[in-house]
Symmetry: C2
Subunit: 405 residues, 2 copies
């Protein structure tokens, strides 16, 4: 019987054969002498799959990674910096991203196209290559380096986001570890979200791609409104095979448990990103059921969870369910108003399209938690979806009106 | 030679034959003893055209108006209340909206289906019909009542929004007057926008419809992201023919000047709504040119002007143009990054896709105005569009986290 357990203090270096490290290279502003350049390295080559931003403006790092993936799906190392997104930086930006992969390749004795690169921070500012050149030399890779890697990719994040799970199956075990950054998720479209996932499982490239897409669809894509992505958004999954299991493919016995474990890692990280939204005080979970199909269910939850007015109401512990129905109404999903139920923090506020005369004080008190669940039942079909976001606070505005200056 | 002039102190009762009035009926909370119920009346029947919300959740008032317009395009009177949206109120809400039109019809000696009805305020709360019944009797209609009507439809609006223009043509003149309310336009989707436009011009129903749709497309629809509307959004145009001109149709000499005057009224009101966005300190005007077609141009401006991060940057006087390109990138319009220009408050920040080394201090100072213009040139085609919004401030969150409780 297969089973998934959470690894205490787990991170991307929990799976066998991965090391990581970080340094302060001086890419962030003077005074912010925190880690800003970091690497993950696998001693054996990894099969890799990745999902990149759908934004038409793509950062130099994303462009370079896409070129590598067109050649092959092999990755040995990741280099990531914070403090500069190297996006909208023209031809120089592309040259700098390529040079970055070359620096890492030289340091590790691998090929430049086996290095994945990621940058997060301010847009439109050139990558300080002197700092990068020096910084790459400074990084010391260790099996305990996952936590440092995580901290080095943080920007406005207030909390690290990492996890590892261990899958025990008859005859062996493997691990999946993941880290993520991203905290501008109150309006998720332009907050760079980076996520790196490692596993020592042996997995075919095809199945790696398929399982990553499925996991992202129910996790990272559910903390983002449709098509809203930053120029740098990246989720990268690397499998180095060091668990020595029989390679997992679509038809393997282990494919189901691998998918479940990967889903768990991605949902955990996605929720962590939503919870740490800029200025946020609460995690909001929206569940829509009874939708005609999965596309409509997902569109509905995303529209509700990304509504400024719903977010503001949750912040104010205000059971203003009319904002939920109004957001739903503009989400372009099929609705029969007389069938609609809305439950906020466990309290029925709308039943069969008619307002419930609930006690306001009880509802307000129920909203005074740091995880608020909003449930909508369309009563039209079998499909359901869940999405996560956070409340909108004054602090969001303070952070975002003073970011670059 | 035709010409358009602004009428000093103009409003919906500026055109001949229109009267209006308002009262405090007690629909708003006790202590808010301000005007909350109001009427417009034309002594002659009006040809009418209207644009209603595309939200699938429609307020009772919108449903009733749609039923009236299915029968005919004749309107004598408008009844509007603030303090209660009568939306998501089930069957009772519909009954109450119908009774409201009957109350007005009885008081004025007209038919109930010749009364347009509008409600704005909190969603999900029943309309207090005792207050409505008494209030309708209290309203005194006068030719000077337009300003009172305007004030009575305000909710979180801080400034009245009204205008009238006079069109002088060879052989006569006519006027168009308009009032609007709406101030949650920082995230425009769920802030009820009501607009009532009167004219004493004689205009055919067909041309009234056509010209209203054209005017709305470049005004109210350009302060809203695509498909984002409140359950109550209404723009109503009434023409009573008292200017005694030859009825304007699509092929009339006067159709062009009528359209221009109507556009002017709608753009003025739309900008007023954007400028008075909840908590706003600045009007933002975004202009996109060089788009492949008008659909793409409009989609691009709307995406940029409704981006929380762009709005926050403008509030902070932060020339963070990367947020403009990132919003553009997710708007799903065609872009060639190396052709892209971005100008913020008159200062080139991106030219041919390459960052311009502008002086930060100069740019920050240029943003310290109460009207900020952001220009984007895609250099791909002939189409252009303009949209308006406002900055995002802490005060928006304060207002919207404390609205119903």
């Amino acid at each position: 019987m297969s089973q998934i357990e959470i690894v205490p203090d787990g991170t991307v270096t929990s799976p066998k054969g991965f090391t990581a490290g970080a340094t302060f290279a001086g890419i962030k502003k003077p005074g912010e002498d925190v880690l800003d350049l970091s690497m993950i390295y696998s001693q054996e080559p990894c099969n890799a799959a990745a999902v990149f931003t759908t934004n038409k403006i793509k950062s130099a790092a994303v462009v370079v990674n896409l070129q590598h993936f067109q050649k092959h799906n092999r990755v040995f190392a990741v280099i990531a910096n914070s403090g500069c997104a190297n996006s909208s930086t023209g031809k120089q930006g592309l040259k700098d991203a390529v040079e970055t992969t070359e620096l890492v390749a030289k340091a590790l004795g691998i090929e430049a196209d086996e290095v994945a690169v990621a940058s997060t921070g301010v847009i439109g500012v050139p990558l300080p290559m002197d700092a990068m050149r020096k910084g790459v030399q400074q990084i010391i890779l260790t099996a305990a380096g996952g936590h440092d890697f995580e901290r080095a990719i943080m920007t406005t994040d207030t909390k690290p986001k990492e996890i590892a799970v261990k899958v025990n199956f008859e005859g062996g075990s493997f691990m999946i570890g993941g880290v993520a950054k991203g905290s501008g998720m109150i309006h998720p479209n332009m907050a760079t979200m980076l996520c790196f996932i490692t596993t020592d499982a042996a997995v075919s490239v095809d199945y790696l791609n398929q399982s990553l897409r499925e996991a992202v669809a129910i996790s990272f894509n559910m903390i983002s409104v449709d098509g809203d992505t930053s120029p740098s958004d990246t989720v990268l999954l690397m499998a180095n095979g060091q668990a020595k299991n029989k390679t997992i493919t679509d038809s393997s016995m282990l494919s189901n448990i691998f998918q479940r474990a990967l889903n768990q890692v991605c949902v955990h990280l996605a929720k962590s990103v939503a919870r740490d939204g800029e200025g946020a005080t609460k995690l909001i979970e929206v569940r829509v059921k009874g939708a005609k199909n999965i596309t409509e269910a997902r569109r509905a939850v995303r529209t509700i969870v990304s509504s400024n007015l719903v977010k503001s109401a949750v912040y104010g512990c205000d059971p203003n369910w009319g904002r939920v129905t109004a957001a739903l109404g503009r989400s372009e999903v099929d609705i029969i108003e007389t069938k609609l139920d809305v439950i906020m923090a466990g309290i029925f506020t709308l039943k069969d399209g008619t307002p419930v005369n609930f006690d306001k004080k009880t509802a307000t008190d129920a909203l005074k938690t740091n995880e608020v669940v909003i449930e909508v039942d369309l009563h039209l079909g079998p499909a359901e979806a869940t999405a996560w976001g956070c409340d909108l606070t004054e602090q969001y505005v303070v952070i975002n009106s003073q970011y670059t200056t």
